[in-house]
């Protein structure tokens, strides 16, 4: 069973692109989507993808509080616990 971090990484790869190229993030999710160059509109749409995938509450302002995707994955785990 894939961990939340692995699933988030896969969802980034499947759903986000920058200038038509898939977005690759490091396995430890130590970057934020803003660092990678994902604009805020794509980032808000991605929050909706995460809500559907993990069935957790997640608004754009929740996401703004995370300094990296790692924090985001930890939040999802905490909500699901």
């Amino acid at each position: 069973m894939a961990t939340t971090a692995e699933r988030v990484r896969q969802l980034v790869a499947d759903n986000l692109e920058v200038d038509g190229q898939p977005v690759a993030v490091p396995a430890d999710l130590s970057v934020s989507l803003t660092d990678v160059g994902v604009p805020s509109m794509d980032f808000v749409a991605f929050a909706k993808v995460l809500v559907r995938e993990f069935d957790v509450p997640l608004t754009p302002d929740d996401c703004a509080g995370f300094s990296s995707l790692k924090d985001l994955a930890a939040y999802i785990d905490a909500q699901a616990a």
């Binding site: 805020s40 808000v44 909706k48 996401c63 703004a64």
Partner: protein
């Protein structure tokens, strides 16, 4: 001060709103522009530029930051080396000269091919630019960022008008959120663009429901090429407050 050269500038005056000047930045690939901008960046900014994995975001950051340095240095009458940037708790940059904070107000936004920089002597401001495109996830986005009346109006529109409306609302809201300095730490669905502006007026006034003391000015700066907006805090008088 930054001297002109054969390379030319990649920004130009776009419009003026009250005391704010707005510049349009050309973000098209141009090796000479990028090299010139990079020369003006600080060591930290160059390191940030290098960290971008994708060439597009790297170029947009570099060209906007270079233009921002040139515009601010011109207004502040200083060399680029003396100018540094601090950030507020939510990441909004502010200018320092010789390590002393400057009251000058500015904000930056990068779209895909164009950026905007707004600058004013005082008063908080925010700017946003987005190149419009039909998106499959427009419903999801509208659901996340529009307030109840905005959603109802969005629901009545179809096709291109729907896309236009959404991008107008998005840029107006993001300009306000950036003016306040909170970015997406503020829930965009919890406030609505003034009704006259929703119906097409290009300028209007606005109060955040939970911060009603400041009357903000909002301007739709959209063109055929992009949606864009500016939010501006009127210059407070001597008794005025800016706690909003």
């Amino acid at each position: 001060m930054l001297r002109s050269s054969a390379v030319g500038w990649w920004w130009r005056p776009f419009t003026e709103v009250a005391e704010a000047a707005v510049f349009l930045i050309d973000l098209a690939p141009d090796a000479a522009h990028e090299a010139r901008a990079l020369e003006w960046l600080s060591v930290t900014e160059r390191a940030r530029s290098r960290r971008f994995v994708h060439a597009g975001p790297r170029r947009r950051f570099t060209l906007c930051r270079g233009a921002l340095r040139a515009i601010l240095c011109h207004r502040l009458g200083c060399d680029s080396q003396r100018l540094t940037f601090g950030t507020s708790s939510h990441g909004k940059p502010f200018a320092r000269v010789d390590d002393m904070p400057e009251p000058i107000s500015f904000n930056v936004s990068h779209g895909r091919s164009h950026g905007l920089i707004a600058v004013a002597p005082r008063g908080r401001l925010g700017v946003d630019i987005e190149e419009r495109r039909a998106r499959e996830d427009l419903e999801d986005l509208a659901d996340a960022v529009l307030g109840p009346n905005e959603k109802r109006e969005f629901g009545l529109l179809r096709g291109d008008a729907r896309t236009q409306f959404f991008f107008r609302m998005w840029t107006l809201k993001e300009a306000l959120m950036k003016a306040l300095g909170l970015g997406f730490s503020l829930d965009p669905a919890e406030f609505e663009v003034p009704i006259a502006v929703r119906r097409g007026a290009t300028t209007g006034t606005f109060r955040f429901p939970d911060r009603p003391r400041v009357l903000w000015r909002v301007d739709d700066l959209g063109t055929e090429d992009f949606a864009a907006a500016l939010a501006l805090e009127p210059i407070p008088d001597r008794c005025g407050s800016s706690d909003g």
